[in-house]
C-alpha cells in the first residue's frame, strides 16, 4: 500500500493524515511538496485539509495550479485513486477533477463540529466498498467554505450517476443537520469512475476512540485495503 500526501503552502492537516495512515498501515506515506514535478508511483494520492495559499482568490484556486497538480491529474487519468479532504476537496474542484463548487457556509461562519453522515453507495468505489447503503458514520467537519453547489444540470447529472458519496444526516437529536447549506445535503462526491473522492469531513481526525471515534479509521482502512 503506497500513499502519497501532497503538502501545499498553508496545508495544515498533512501531518494529521500522515499520522493516521501510519497508524493504519504501519508504514509512513510519502510526503510531496507542491512544487515537485513527479509523484512516486502509488495507490492513493491524498490532498489534505488546510488553507492552501491562505484561501487567496478562492479556496484551492491557486493550489490547483501548483506544478504537482499536473501529476495528480495524470494519476487520476490513469485510473489512480485520489482523496481530497476539506481544502483538498476544494482543490479537486478547482482542478476540475470533480464537478461543482464549494462556497461560503450558509451561516457565514467557520463551523467545527461532529456531524452524522449517511453513506450513499450507488456506484462501485474503493472508498465506499466497506459500507452499506444508508450506513451512518460520524466525523468532524471544520470549514468556512463547505457549502456544495452545482447548477441544476450538473447536479442532476451527479445525482443520476449516483456520484454523491456522503450526505449530512439528521441525527436523532436533530443537531447535525446540514451544517453549511450544501445543496441536497452533499458532503462528499465521487468522480464518474468512483476513484476520485472529495469530502468535507475529516476522517483522519477520528482514528482513535479517545479523539472522538473510529469511523475515520474504518473509512481509511477499508479504502486502503481496497486499493492495495
Amino acid at each position: 500500500m503506497r500513499v502519497t500526501i501532497i503538502t501545499f503552502p498553508g496545508s495544515n492537516c498533512d501531518r494529521d493524515v500522515s499520522v493516521a495512515i501510519k497508524k493504519i498501515t504501519g508504514k509512513n506515506p510519502s510526503n510531496i511538496w507542491h512544487q515537485e514535478n513527479e509523484v512516486p508511483n502509488c495507490d492513493l494520492i491524498i490532498l489534505p485539509g488546510g488553507f492552501s495559499y491562505g484561501d487567496y482568490l478562492r479556496c484551492g484556486a491557486v493550489a490547483a495550479h501548483s506544478p504537482v497538480m499536473k501529476e495528480v491529474k495524470n494519476h487520476a487519468a490513469r485510473g489512480g485513486a485520489v482523496l481530497g479532504i476539506c481544502n483538498g476537496f476544494q482543490i479537486l474542484l478547482e482542478a476540475k477533477l470533480l464537478e461543482g463548487a464549494l462556497i461560503r457556509n450558509s451561516g457565514l461562519k467557520f463551523v467545527c463540529k461532529q456531524v452524522a453522515l449517511k453513506i450513499n453507495k450507488q456506484i462501485n468505489s474503493p472508498f465506499l466498498h466497506h459500507f452499506k447503503q444508508n450506513d451512518i458514520i460520524h466525523l468532524p467537519i471544520a470549514h468556512n467554505e463547505g457549502n456544495y453547489f452545482a447548477d441544476s444540470e450538473t447536479l442532476k447529472k451527479i445525482e443520476d450517476k449516483g456520484l454523491v458519496a456522503l450526505r449530512y444526516h439528521t441525527s436523532s437529536d436533530g443537531n447535525s443537520f446540514n451544517p453549511n447549506g450544501s445543496i441536497n445535503n452533499i458532503a462528499a462526491i465521487l468522480s464518474d469512475n468512483g476513484k476520485v473522492l472529495g469530502m468535507m469531513p475529516h476522517p483522519e481526525r477520528y482514528v482513535d476512540n479517545e479523539l472522538g471515534g473510529l469511523d475515520g479509521f474504518e473509512f481509511l482502512k477499508s479504502t486502503l485495503e481496497q486499493l492495495s
Partner: protein
Amino acid sequence: MSNLREGLSTFEIAEELGLKKDEYEQICSLMGRIPNIHEISIFSAMWSEHCSYKSSRKWLKTLPTKGEVVIHGPGENAGAIDIGDGKVAIFKIESHNHPSFIEPYQGAATGVGGILRDVFTMGARPVALLNALRFGSIENNKTKYLLEGVVSGIGGYGNCIGIPTIGGETNFDKSYDGNILVNAMAIGITEKDKIFLSAARGVGYPLIYVGAKTGRDGIHGASMSSTEFDDKTEEKRPTVQVGDPFTGKLLMEACLELMTTDSVVAIQDMGAAGLTSSAVEMGSKGKLGVKLDLDLVPLREENMSTAEIMLSESQERMLMIIKPDKMDKANSIFKKWNLDIAKIGEITNSQNLEIYKNNILDAQIPITYLVDQAPEYDRDWTTPEKAPELQIKNAPIKSVSKVIEKLFNSHNLCSRNWIWEQYDTSVMGDTVIPPGQNSGVIRVHGTNKKLCASVDCTPRYVSADPFLGSMQAVCEAYRNIISVGGTPLAITNNLNFGNPEKKEIMGQIVHSIKGISEASLKLNMPVISGNVSLYNETNGKAILPTPVIGAVGAIDENKHSTSLSNAVDGNSIFVIGQDNSHTDGWVGQSIYAQEILDIEKDYAPPPVNIDAELANGNFILKAIEQKLTNCVHDISDGGLAIAISEILLSSRTKGIGAVINKNYIHNSESFWFGEDQGRYLVCTSKNKEIEELAESNKIKITNIATINLSDRLTFSNEDYICISELDVKHKNWFKNFMS
C-alpha cells in the same frame, strides 16, 4: 557623535509620543544631550507601560516564579516547564485588548498571531490555543459587533494556521463597554535540549530579518496600548496591525525547519514596538550592541521614515542571529517558504543600539538606557476596603428548577457553543477534550501523555476583594486541571486593570498580585510567564479588575483521566469538600445574588481556604487514580444546583436525569446556589470505596443525588426540570442573542 543626524527633539514632541515631563528630562540627563527625534521615538516605545511594565514591575518581581518543573520563568518570550520524558511545554497568555476594541477582527487575529510567535520563537511547535474574553453589557449595541468580530478574528487566525483552540471563557459586564478584553494563550511543545532564546551572542554575527515585509501598520501600537480611551478612540484605527495567518503559517514552518539545522544563535519575534523592541531585547539580554542598517529592511511601502520602520508593528516578522556559515542554509529554507530574508545588521560589542539610514547615523543609544534605566514606579496605592458579608434570610426555596432554568437561559451560564464551533478544535489530531468542559485536554503528540489547560477569572470577586478574588482565580484554574485528572504544574497570568496612576486601581493591582502569589505558592503552580494590560479605562471609568489565570497540567502516560460527559445511569453524585452539616451557602457575589436577588452592591466574595483546596484536590486525584470515578466537575459559577445540571447537560447518555437525595430536597437557596469554594462533584458507582477514601483522608463528603434515565433533574415531586428541554435552551441562548 558629530555625524548623528540632526533634528533635535522637544518636550512637546516627546509628550505627543506619550512621555511625561520628568521622563523626558531623565532621558536628556541620561543621554547627556538632547536626543534627536528618532531617538526619542525609540525611548517613547521602550519606556511605554506596554514594553517597560513601569507601573507593575516592582510588584511583578514578587510573584513566585521558581519551582521544580520551571525551566524558564518570566523574562523570555514565554515560560517553559519540564513535563517529563525530555519534553517541555512552553506557554504564555497575552492581551490584545486595546486593538480589539478599535478593530475587533484584526485586533483579535493579531493577538493570536502574536502569542503563537512567542511560543514558536522558543523552538516549540504550538499545539493548543485558549482565550479569555470579556465584553460589555448584552444590552449595549456594540457588544454583538465586537463579539462577532473578535470570535471570527480568533478563528480566522487559529483555524488557518492550524492550531486547535481547546478552551476559554467569555463573560459580559457593563464595565467592559468601552474596553473589551481579549486575552489569548498558546501552548507549545519541544524537547528539553531544543529551546531557543533571544539573548544576542557572537560579536560580528549577522542579524537576520525574516518573514513579512514592513509596512506602516501598527505604528505606535505599544504607546496606544498604554493610554486610556476617550471618545476619539476611532481615530486610532490606523494603529491596529493587520494579520496574515497564511504568512504566519509559512513563517512558523520556516523557523521550525531552520531550527533543526543548528543555524540559529538567537531569535526574537517582532511584536509590540516592532524592530525596536526585538533588537533592544536581544542586545540587552546578551549585553551586546546591535547595529542596524534600515536600508536593508524589506519594506512594503515607499519612503518610510526611520521611526516608521523602527516602530512598525507589521505582523509575521522575526529577528534572528544566525551562524555566519549557515546563511546559505537559511536562505534556501526561507526561499522555499517564499518569505523575505535579509541581513539588516550585526551584533557589536558596543552595547549601543546604532541605527543607520542612507549611511547616516540616525540614532545611537546605550541599550541599558532603554531597558535597565527605564522608569520603575512605586505608585501610590490604597488598601481596598473590606466588603461586608451579605446576609440573606435563608428560607427553604420554593423552586430550585425555575432558578436553574433562568440562569442557563441567560448570558451568564448558557453554553458558549456559538463561539467555540467557530474555532477548529480538532486539527492536529490530538484533542481529547475540546472546549466546554473543565479543562481542554490534548495528547502530547506521539506519546500517551496528555496536557490539560484552563483559563479562569471571576472579576466580580476580584472587584469586591482583589486579594481573595485573585487567589480564587488561581484556585479555580487548579480545580479545573484537577477535574480532568491532571497534575497542576504552572500558571501564566494576564493582569487586566484600569489606570495605575489612580491609587485605588494600583491598590487592586498590588493586592491582586499578592493574592496570586499566595495561591500559586501554596498550590505549587509557579507563574512562568504573563502579561500586564493597564489603562483599560474609557472616559475615566475602569473595567472590573480582571487577572486572568491560565493553568497547565499534565496527565501521565496510562493514567486514568476523566470527562464531564461520562456520567451514567446508576451513578451516585457526591459533593467533595462539603458534608451533611452544610446547610447555608455563601451568596455574596454569587450569580444568584446578581441575577435573582438583583444585588449590585459590593458584598464580600466567598472565602478561600487554600489548605482545604489542596487537600480536596489531592483527594480527587487519588479517587481518579484508583478509578473510583470517571466524571468529576468543579463547583463554580452558580453553585451546587448548576454544577449538578452541567453534569447532566454534558453527558453522552441519552435521557439522563438525576434525583436529589431526600435529605436535601428542602434546602435553602443559598445551599443550592451559594458559591462556596474548594468543592467538586464526583460521579461514581463505588459509593463505599469513595466514602472510605474520603474518611481516611479526612475529606468532607456527602451523597447528593442519584443518576437515572428520567430525563429530569428532580428535587421533589413538584420541583423538577426536564434536561432535554433545558439542553435546548442552554445551547440556543447564544445563537438567538447573536442572530
